[in-house]
């Protein structure tokens, strides 16, 4: 109704505007003018002078110009040549804009491809060329590696023919191998410990770096391993040098700070080392086939623990579970409600699943599951957080390995999130940059799996019941019950497996504060395990598992070292102590190759899972907050309680989380002070210090960029819907009450509604009640929906009340599609460190702007002033024109 009146209003206005034309032209000419006049209309409609201007231009072009100029209809010429000028509402600045554009058009040839694309093309071409040059070299390297492998394999074969008992793989090669290893070790020892002069060190590291850059071009795992070796040599050398010759014994403050920095560096070095070990050969386990006879399939208790989540969040999960591809009588679904809510009980009865409520609430989620273990009896226990929606193939993927390996106690699958987490939402890079968890679930767990050390992550996992009962249920001593439980399983000699397929999807934590809260819990829990049940000691684990667990725990202790790195250069700039006692040039020659090679290795091995420099941003955001709880937990492990991570909420308005960002603002201020003071020292300080000041300034600048990027996350972007939508592109169709069905494509869906694109949404007419048809596995399902909004290409639909089966079908057609999330993962490109650094810098700029804008009084004005000036300058700048003949 309202749309109609709006349309006729506009019609009336247009008629009155152009009434004079009726007297001047024939009807079809008049119509033509009207259409052209309409095309010039800007977003805010015509102003009086605009009307005159456009009218005059149209008349002029109609009378005096030939129909087509520069390959465009001549009446459209002004629009094409001055795309940044709104002629229907000209402004004073246009008097400047148009001449500048005109001069630019006269002087420069307009090429239809954009600059950025050209740079990218150039990059690609250069990349290709360098590859071609390198190819011969690379091919030779690969050939020799292949030959080496062959001789190796032949020797192994001849050795194993002697019916020797199978031994550990690293013992296999025998005497020659150990001789070779010893020799290599000796060489490495020389590389690491021999002190070099400045030039020798320069030659050494540049040789290594060039080798690394060549190796980087070679795909495959062996080159990655060699890269790791190079990086290890440089890093070892660096640490050796740091320990042996850079400690400042002359100055007490310098000595103390220097040792603190050295310890932090040693920590980072250890994490790097263990990280290499962990990701040396990701297992990439594929699902095992289940037997054809479904009678042999085991029974499963599917548990959905919940505490304070909304029913809507749980509903989708339960409905998806009801549609899982598993024999109905062998799958028992339980809602474990710790919140003691009757609405959940009613819902469970409504959809016919089991509802378990326990009288007490001790030990949070772990206690909840342990209580349910006593009430249930199936062979396997599957645990899903209430917001993790399994796709229907979940058990088909996960259960096969259990039947193959009787000692297998745990199968973990990734936590895939279909809503943006705090980083992705506030920085606006959802599905563009791999998020924080991608590295862990894409690579780290897979690497752990090689060493039989993949651990339980609390959800989306299946555990063998008798194994779980043998260790006394889920561990309750720490706040990260998941990792602790799998540690215990491993201690009992059970195996674990990790399957990388994203067969479920959940909600990410919404706000930064919730995210930080969750990570504090994890960090505290890991520190607790380190104290209470240290994986390095105790029975049952082999050394590889010990290292994997140890690295996982060490990772969460990153808070204090990170803070040390953020403040270390300030010690020199502000306190004027030499905490690294070495000439600036030598320091650079040691530290830069170490960092460079480490990031080359990480970019090569982690390229698809984490982009360069982002890991540091993620870590910085948490560093301040995990520093204290981990330290406390290390000294007093029984303190601390389980806090539930809030999900599925909404952020009402944009706000700046001052509380979270306060420590970082403080650090930024410190760094800025450092920069200023550094500048002063360059200008007025002694000559021989300038190099050292410059090096430290570079370091401070880098820290500042990372800090600003971290602060950008604190600007919480408004989020209106509480049910997050999943963006997709799937065929669908819409059926109107008149029996007509139209092609549509599904844009996004949530549990309560969907959005579809139509070729022409006016076909819907006055109908409000429609059927939306979705396909799954070649079957079509129809769901009643009501149109809540429409524009000319899109319809927003809200689902009408449906039957239980329809609800299950809806979740099956949307969230629980087996192939849905797999496609997401493929979207990420491989890391390009330069581009990635650019992204971090732009995030930093955003962070700086946001924090200044929400800062105290004069700051926002200054920011607004500067951005106004930039904007007006940019609006005057000429714009590239997309016309063939220009």
């Amino acid at each position: 109704m309202s749309r109609d009146t709006g349309g006729s209003d506009r019609l009336v206005v247009r008629r009155s505007q152009l009434s004079v034309l009726r007297w001047l032209f024939k009807p079809d000419i008049k119509r033509m003018f009207e259409a052209r006049y309409d095309e010039y209309r800007g977003a805010r409609g015509y102003s009086r002078i605009g009307r005159l201007l456009v009218g005059a231009w149209l008349y002029f072009s109609y009378c005096f110009l030939k129909p087509e100029i520069f390959g465009v209809p001549s009446w459209r010429l002004l629009k094409v040549l001055f795309p940044h000028v709104d002629l229907s509402r000209p402004r004073l600045g246009d008097l400047l804009r148009m001449p500048i554009q005109l001069i630019w058009l006269l002087l420069f040839k307009q090429v239809s491809t954009r600059d950025r694309r050209r740079i990218r093309q150039f990059y690609r071409l250069a990349d290709l060329r360098s590859r071609r040059v390198l190819f011969r070299l690379v091919a030779l390297t690969r050939l020799s590696i292949r030959k080496l492998q062959h001789t190796f394999a032949r020797r192994e074969n001849t050795e194993s023919e002697g019916a020797k008992p199978p031994r550990e793989s690293w013992e296999l090669a025998g005497f020659t191998m150990s001789l070779l290893l010893g020799f290599a070790g000796f060489l490495a020892f020389i590389c690491i410990t021999v002190p070099f002069s400045l030039t020798a060190q320069a030659g050494f590291v540049s040789a290594l770096i060039i080798t690394a850059l060549i190796l980087r071009q070679v795909p495959g795992r062996y080159p990655a391993l060699m890269l790791m070796m190079l990086s290890l040599i440089v890093s070892f050398r660096y640490i050796w040098w740091r320990v042996s010759s850079t400690i400042n014994f002359d100055d007490t403050l310098g000595l103390i700070l220097g040792i603190i920095l050295l310890l932090a560096e040693a920590y980072a070095w250890l994490v790097l080392l263990l990280g290499y070990f962990q990701t040396i050969w990701p297992l990439r386990r594929s699902p095992e086939k289940l037997p054809d006879n479904t009678d042999e399939w085991p029974t499963i208790d599917l548990m959905i623990p919940t505490y304070n989540e909304e029913l809507d969040v749980v509903r989708a999960t339960v409905l998806a579970c009801l549609g899982l591809d598993w024999p109905r009588e062998k799958l028992r679904i339980h809602i474990l409600d710790d919140g003691k809510r009757d609405s959940f009980k009613d819902f469970a009865a409504e959809v016919n699943v089991n509802y378990i409520r326990r009288p007490t609430n001790e030990y949070a989620k772990a206690g909840n599951i342990n209580y349910a273990l006593k009430k249930t009896s199936a062979d396997y226990v599957a645990i899903f957080d209430c917001d993790h929606i399994p796709t229907r193939a979940f058990f088909q993927v996960a259960m096969g390995w259990f039947l193959k390996d009787p000692k297998l106690a745990l199968v973990q699958t990734p936590h895939h999130f279909y809503s943006p987490d705090a980083f992705e939402r506030n920085l606006g890079n959802f599905r563009k940059i791999p998020n924080e968890g991608t590295l862990f679930y894409g690579l780290t767990q897979d690497g752990n799996d090689l060493w039989n050390a993949a651990f339980f992550c609390g959800s989306c996992a299946v555990i063998r019941r008798d194994a779980l009962e043998e260790i006394g249920g889920i561990a309750v001593e720490t706040v990260t019950e998941d990792a602790h439980t799998s540690l215990r399983l491993h201690r009992k000699g059970y195996n674990s497996a990790y399957l990388r397929a994203p067969v479920s999807a959940g909600l990410a934590t919404e706000t930064l504060s919730a995210h930080v809260g969750q990570r504090i819990r994890w960090a505290r829990g890991m520190a607790q395990i380190l104290r209470l049940d240290n994986p390095l000691v105790g029975p049952g684990l082999n050394w590889r598992q010990r290292l994997c667990y140890f690295n996982a725990m060490l990772h969460f202790l990153a808070g204090i070292p990170r803070l040390v790195f953020l403040t270390a250069p300030l010690a020199f700039l502000l306190l004027h102590t030499y905490i690294i006692f070495a000439p600036a040039a030598l320091l650079l020659l040691y530290v830069l190759p170490h960092m460079f090679l480490a990031s080359v290795v990480n970019s090569t091995t982690q390229g698809k899972y984490r982009y360069s420099f982002w890991g540091e941003v993620y870590e910085i955001v948490l560093s301040w907050y995990v520093a204290r709880p981990t330290t406390v937990a290390l000294f007093a492990p029984d303190k601390g309680k389980f806090n539930v991570t809030a999900k599925g909420g909404k952020v009402e308005n944009f706000y700046y989380d001052w509380v979270i960002s306060k420590p970082y603002i403080f650090l930024i201020l410190l760094n800025i002070a450092g920069i200023i003071w550094g500048g002063v020292r360059i200008a007025f300080g002694p000559e021989d210090e300038v190099a050292a000041v410059l090096v430290n300034l570079g370091w401070v600048l880098y820290n500042l960029i990372l800090l600003c990027a971290a602060v950008a996350v604190a600007g919480e972007v408004k989020q209106v819907r509480s049910a997050p939508r999943v963006e997709v592109d799937m065929p669908a169709s819409i059926r109107l009450p008149n029996g007509r069905a139209y092609q549509a494509s599904l844009r996004d869906f949530s549990i309560g509604g969907l959005r579809i694109d139509l070729e022409d949404s006016s076909v819907v007419g006055d109908y409000t009640r429609v059927d939306i048809q979705l396909q799954r596995a070649n079957r079509t399902f129809s769901f009643p929906a009501r149109i809540v909004f429409s524009n000319n290409q899109m319809l927003g639909l809200r689902l009408e009340p449906m039957t239980r089966q329809q609800k299950i079908d809806y979740v099956q057609c949307t969230f629980a599609r087996a192939d849905l999330w797999v496609r997401w993962k493929r979207d990420y490109d491989i890391d390009r460190p330069g581009v990635s650094f650019g992204q971090v810098v732009s995030a930093a700029a955003q962070g700086l702007r946001i924090s200044l804008e929400s800062g105290p009084r004069p700051l926002p004005w200054i920011v607004r002033g500067i951005s106004f000036i930039i904007r007006s300058l940019r609006s005057v700048a000429p714009v590239r024109v997309e016309a063939k003949a220009l």
Partner: protein, 256 residues
């Protein structure tokens, strides 16, 4: 020239709708099509914009002992249609008594092709349950023998199912046909369930594409057009497009 025979189990199964719109979809893919109507109801031509008052057709010509080639109508684009023709009482008697050889010869002539050559011949044949003279049957046989694809349009409704399931004659006749679900309406429970039953019981012979119930098809017929001309953004248009691609893909490797 590849031959597709489209039939339905009972009358009103939608075989002529399927045949006409499949031809239109083929035409969209860049093929030229020849539509042949073997049903006495003579309504395939109406999909192809032939004047409803036009009585001409191949049967009428044959009965009048004239060349049937005259009764070929252009149907827009590269598509042509050969209607059955209107037969009044006397002519119908004569058609029934028409000798077998003459009908089979007609079938062979059509398939031998004429210029300009068509890529696809889509034959709309009468329903399985209807009775025909032996001569007509052998002509049908001639077409279906040389057809590279035989489609049976089945609405997921009880009558079609019972015939197909329990009538031995129909079941045997349908043995080498692919089943195409037509007028599927997932919002109707019985329709949805029977679709599932068809898929279960005839799994190996189901066409993976179904044609949904869409009144655009009926409206297109009423306005003497195909759904591609009448409402190109309707769901039915997409389904027929998919069907055409499926037909083409399932014949890849066979000689044309």
């Amino acid at each position: 020239m590849r031959v597709v025979v489209v039939r339905s189990v009972r009358g009103g199964g939608g075989s002529s709708t399927v045949a006409a719109n499949l031809a239109a979809a083929m035409q969209q893919l860049g093929y030229s099509c020849l539509l042949l109507d073997l049903c006495q109801s003579n309504d395939l031509r109406l999909h192809a914009s032939v004047d409803p008052c036009e009585p001409d057709g191949w049967a009428r010509r044959l009965v009048a002992d004239q060349a049937w080639e005259v009764a070929v109508f252009g149907a827009g684009g590269s598509c042509r249609v050969i209607p059955f023709g209107e037969l009044d009482g006397d002519a119908y008697e004569r058609f029934l008594a028409f000798p077998q050889e003459a009908l089979v010869a007609f079938a062979e002539q059509v398939q031998a092709g004429f210029s300009p050559a068509a890529d696809w011949l889509i034959v709309d044949a009468p329903p399985l349950v209807s009775q025909h003279s032996a001569a007509f049957e052998s002509m049908l046989h001639a077409f279906s023998k040389s057809a590279s694809l035989r489609l049976l349009a089945v609405p997921p409704e009880a009558p079609a199912y019972t015939s197909l399931r329990f009538s031995t004659r129909v079941r045997n006749a349908a043995a080498d046909y692919h089943l195409l679900l037509n007028r599927a309406a997932p919002e109707v429970a019985i329709n949805r369930d029977l679709s599932l039953v068809f898929r279960q019981e005839f799994a190996s012979r189901m066409v993976p594409i179904r044609i949904g119930a869409d009144s655009a098809l009926a409206e297109a017929f009423a306005s003497l057009r195909t759904v591609f001309q009448y409402s190109p953004d309707s769901e039915a248009a997409r389904e027929f497009h998919a069907l055409a691609i499926w037909c083409q893909a399932s014949l890849v490797g066979e000689r044309s």
